[in-house]
Structures are given as C-alpha cells and as structure tokens.
C-alpha cells in the first residue's frame, strides 16, 4: 500500500521540479535567511540563524539516509567534524584559500564515505546504527592521537587568515552567506534526490530492501551513493563553521550529541519530507535558545529536551509535517 502511495504522488505532480510550488517556497526561505539579518545589521540574529542553518544542513542530509532509505546514521557528525578538520588544516598549514580548502574537505570526506559505505552498508537496522557510532568514535579516537592535527588539544587558526575575506568583521558575514548557500544546496539536493529515479530507488529500499533488490534496484550502489552524497555538504559546512570559530578540537568536532540532535530534528519535523527537517531545525534551535536562557530550565535543558523527544517518539512518530500530511493530504502538493 505504501509503495502505491509513492507512485501516485509522483504521477500527480507536475513533470518538472520548477513547476512545483515547493521549489519556490525553498527559494523564499533562503531569501529570508539572506535578507533578515541585514536589516539593521543584526549580528545576534545572524548568529542564531547561522546555527539554524547548520542544523538544517545536518538534518536534511541525514534525512536522505533516515527518511528515504530507512538507515539510521547515528554518527553523521563524523562528516561535519572531518570536513572541519581538513579545512582548518588546509587553510592553516599549506595556506589554501578557504573556498578551495572547504571544497577539498567535502570531496575527500565524500570519497571516504563512498569507500566506507560499501562496507558498513552491508549491515542493516540497529547493526548499521551501531557501526556508524563505532566509525565516529574510532575517527575521534584516531584524531585525538594524530599529532599533525594537534591531537586532543586541537588546532587554532590565526585571525590574520580572515584578511583575504576583508577582515574579521566582513569575514563573518561572508561565512554566514556561504553557509546559507550550503543550506540551500542541501535542501535542493534532498528535494532533487526525492523526485529522481535514484530517490525512488532509495524510497523503495526504505520500504522493503529485498523487494527493491528483486525489482532491479541496485541497492548496494544506491545506499553507498546516498551515504557519500549526504557526506559532501555537511563536510563543507563543517569546514566553514570551524574556520569561523578558528578553533577545532576532537571532543567538539565528533560530539555524538550533535548527531543525535540532528536525528531528533529529523524526527520532530517529519522524516522523509523535505520541509520537515528544516522546520524541525528551526523549532529545535528556538527551543534550545529558550531553555538555555530560562532561569527555571537552564539546569534541566537536557531533561526537557529528552522528555520532549520521548513524547514525539511515543505519540507523534511521523513528526510535525508527517502528521499534517496525514491530516490534510492536499498539503503534500504545496509543502513536500
């Protein structure tokens, strides 16, 4: 039944992606991210939106694995952290320009993910989830001991490196715009994958992997490609993010709570939808900010976040957008 649903939805929609309203809704959202902080030069708003953009990048890439293919990547933060390390190292030592370093980080991490994906994606369900935790922890333990990258103490960048971007103040704006661009690409990537044949194959894997394989979906290749494709943009985002902080250390870069937050965001918004992770990320960022600043809850931030996640998992397993779709089926045509 569920497979039928997918195919009718695809048929009912206009042929090209440009004719769909949701394509333009994404464009509007990106424009809002670009314009909002420039009004009144609001640095505080920019920082909060920057964090939201990072969450959206992580969550919507993760969503391709979780929501489409049904594989829970618990250690997705390893892409972000490794991308950050490669970029900071390339900018700091050989003195590459930021754009080249961040792109190189993305390409290398994506290639590593492809190689790794072929091995790790032989596993299914909880076994895969555990293996991804193992990969993240293994990489973290390795970096902690890897002296060219500063070991456990991490690496610093000198603020002089901001000079090519027009000084520290201007550099922060540039990095913000770059991150918003990566966010836009992430949203369009997950949208593009969903409407493509590749995405249909991933959705089929998510429904029933063996049946998909019998019907001719090259499951191993598709899974590894999805794993690798969703590593690319988070790695670039990691590079930009850690270049901005001018400091990176293993315990932050490979922090498992960050990747579980991304899972929580995907669940909150609605797995398998494109708007879901974005809306989930926005709500999560707002909630986190509120909990951290509130007098009553600042000590119990984790408790409240945990209780909230439990309530979603128990009573709203399809997330906000998923529940709205079930309630108003026509909404699927506008918000996908």
């Amino acid at each position: 039944m569920a497979t039928q649903q997918v195919s009718t939805r695809i048929d009912a929609l206009p042929r090209t992606i440009l004719h769909r309203p949701f394509f333009w809704i994404i464009a509007l959202a990106i424009a809002a991210f670009v314009v909002a902080p420039t009004i009144g030069n609001d640095v505080q708003l920019r920082e909060s939106l920057l964090l939201a953009a990072v969450y959206i990048i992580l969550a919507s890439n993760l969503n391709v694995m979780i929501g489409y293919a049904g594989y829970v990547n618990f250690g997705s933060i390893v892409f972000f952290g490794l991308g950050g390390y490669l970029c900071v190292w390339l900018v700091g030592r050989p003195g590459f320009p930021l754009a080249v370093a961040a792109l190189a980080g993305g390409v290398v991490v994506s290639a590593l993910a492809l190689v790794f994906g072929f091995g790790v994606l032989r596993l299914r369900g909880a076994y895969f989830a555990l293996a991804t935790i193992g990969v993240n922890e293994g990489v973290q333990a390795f970096v902690m001991n890897f002296s060219p990258w500063g070991g456990a103490a991490g690496m610093y960048l000198s603020t002089e490196l901001f000079a090519p971007l027009g000084g520290p103040r201007q550099a922060l704006w540039t990095i913000y715009y770059l991150l918003v661009a990566v966010m836009g690409l992430s949203l369009y990537l997950s949208y593009g994958i969903k409407v493509s044949k590749f995405g249909l194959g991933l959705l089929a894997i998510g429904q029933n992997e063996d049946a998909a394989a019998v019907l001719g979906v090259p499951t191993r290749l598709y899974k590894a490609l999805a794993y690798s494709a969703t590593a690319f943009l988070p790695a670039i985002a990691g590079g930009l993010y850690y270049f901005k902080s001018a400091f990176i250390q293993p315990s932050d870069a490979f922090d498992l709570t960050f990747s579980t937050e991304a899972i929580a965001i995907v669940m909150l918004g609605g797995q398998g939808t494109i708007a879901g992770p974005a809306i989930g990320a926005f709500f999560y960022e707002e909630l986190r900010g509120w909990l951290l600043t509130s007098d009553t809850f600042s000590h119990f931030q984790l408790v409240v976040a945990g209780a909230l996640l439990l309530i979603i998992v128990l009573f709203l397993p399809r997330g906000l957008i998923g529940t709205a779709h079930a309630r108003w089926p026509d909404l699927r045509r506008i918000i996908e």
Binding site: L123, A126, L130, G134, E137, V303, L310
Partner: protein, 286 residues
C-alpha cells in the same frame, strides 16, 4: 616478560566486569530487539547508588550488592513501561530514539544533582603479589563476582521455567504467545533483569575506577564492542567477549600509549561488525 603476562591477567580481570556490563545489554537486545541506549546511564546509576549507600551507611561496598540488584530491577521495570513497551515490534529507529531520550533525561538529572566532577568509592582489600607485580584485590573480587553473576544468569536462563520462557520469547514472540506464555510480562521481566545487570556492573566498576556522571557513554560503547565480539543476544558470549576485550587491552597496554587503545577497540569493532555481523562467537540460531 612477566610484566606483559601480568598486564594481560589484569586486563582479563577487568574485562570480565565489562562482560557483565554487556550481558544486560545483549540480553535485552536478544529478547526484544531493542538496543537499550539507557544502558550507560544505568551503569552510572549503579555507580552512584554504591557511592550513596556506602557514604550513608559506612558498610562494605559489597554489602550493597543485593540492594542494587533490587533497585536496578525496579528502575528497569519502570523504564520498560515508560519507554520500551510501545516500541516492541516497531522499526529499530523508534526504540533507539525512545531509549536515547530517556538517557538524555537521566544524564540531565544526574548532572543537575551531582555536576560532572570526579567521584570515587574507597575500597580497601589486600592485593595479591606475585614477584614484582601486585594484582589489586578489588580487581580479583570484581572478576570473581562477575563470573558468579554470569553463572547465576546462565543457570536462570537454562534451568528455570521463567528462563525458558525468556528464551522462547527471544526465539519467536508470536509462537511463544500461542503456547500461552504471557509475553508482555516476560519482556518486562527480561528488560528489568538487563537493567539490574547493568547497575550491578556499574557498582563493580565503581570499586575499580573513579567515575563521573558522564562515564556511562564510555562504558556503553565498550559494551557494544563486547557484544560484537561475543555475539548478539547471547549473554554467555558476552562474558567471553568481555574477557577478549580485556585481553586486547592488557596485551596492548605495555606496547603503546593508553590513548591509542581506543582506536584499536573501535577499529576492531567496525571491522568485526562488517566482517561477521553476528559476532565472533555467534551461536547459530535455529
């Protein structure tokens, strides 16, 4: 040469405690296909229970064992009904997330109450000295207790009616239901038993090493490594897995800095998981 052997023996002693810790996790996994991510917090709960009990009563730490078993069992029952019961039979993502969120709540409460400082429970036991090397008494006693408890669990699973029911539910829940086994009650009992094992292992670890509220994650990851080595859902294998892990640690310690051992452990973990997803000592399930 004797130094290496001593290091290996000590590794095996500590490893058997890791084995006990993993036993609770693998029992729950095997019986209900739930990866219990509250495992780490339960281990920490055992540590702090021991700390509070010895601090309040001044009794020997080992006298606290029965109280911790009972307490862990009660906590396990509570957690089962809150977070796990509705997840039985649903995709693994759901139970991973529900137990993860409970874990967040527990860790949050722990840090709010105790902070993240270092705690330890002073235990004085005479060690065993061979040539220049002394094996701490706490390590020996912890290993013995872990072995005894593993034996008890084995006897329970294979020698009692309830144990048989647990194995039946693990094998085929539907069929167990058909022959009249109250599966829900058996599942909640098995979960509580797993939780009690985690608490007891936490208590034993607390007698060996200092700990913080956040120690749980590290021991939970170790438990996963042990499970992979010992075979999924196989409590007896977990003890061997723990001993194997202890052996690796003991063997590696004299040759490399301690921080590299983690790299080896996780490399081993991923490699074994990919090469033999059922675990090294996996029993063939019929």
């Amino acid at each position: 040469m004797f130094g290496i052997i001593a290091s290996i023996i000590d590794g095996v002693l500590v490893g058997s405690v890791y084995g006990l810790a993993a036993m609770g996790l693998t029992l729950i996994w095997g019986v209900m296909d739930v990866v219990n991510l509250t495992h780490g917090s339960l281990i920490v709960a055992g540590m702090f229970a021991l700390y509070l009990l010895t601090d309040a009563t001044g009794l020997s730490p080992y006298a606290a064992l029965p109280a911790i078993v009972v307490g862990g069992f009660a906590v396990g029952l509570f957690l089962y009904w809150i977070a796990v019961h509705r997840m039985i039979g649903r995709p693994p993502l759901m139970s991973l997330l529900s137990t993860f969120s409970v874990n967040l709540v527990l860790v949050g409460l722990g840090t709010a109450v105790w902070g993240t400082g270092l705690f330890n429970v002073p235990v004085s036991l005479p060690g065993l000295t061979l040539q220049r090397f002394t094996f701490p008494g706490t390590h020996i006693l912890a290993a013995v207790l872990a072995g005894v408890l593993a034996g008890c669990l084995y006897a329970f699973l294979y020698g009692t009616r309830l144990g048989k029911a647990i194995r039946a539910v693990a094998n085929n829940r539907g069929a167990a239901e058909l022959v009249g086994i109250p599966t829900t009650r058996v599942l909640s009992f098995a979960f509580a038993l797993g939780a009690a094992l985690a608490c007891v292992s936490g208590m034993l670890i607390a007698t060996l090493f200092p700990f913080t509220v956040l120690s749980g994650d590290a021991y939970q990851l170790k438990s996963f490594v042990v499970i992979v080595l010992g075979g999924f859902g196989n409590p007896a294998g977990a003890l061997f897995g723990g001993i194997a892990l202890g052996l690796v640690e003991g063997l590696a310690t004299p040759f490399m800095p301690v921080s590299w051992i983690l790299v080896i452990e996780f490399g081993l973990f991923v490699a074994v998981l990919v090469a033999r997803p059922g675990g090294v000592f996996a029993l063939r399930r019929t």
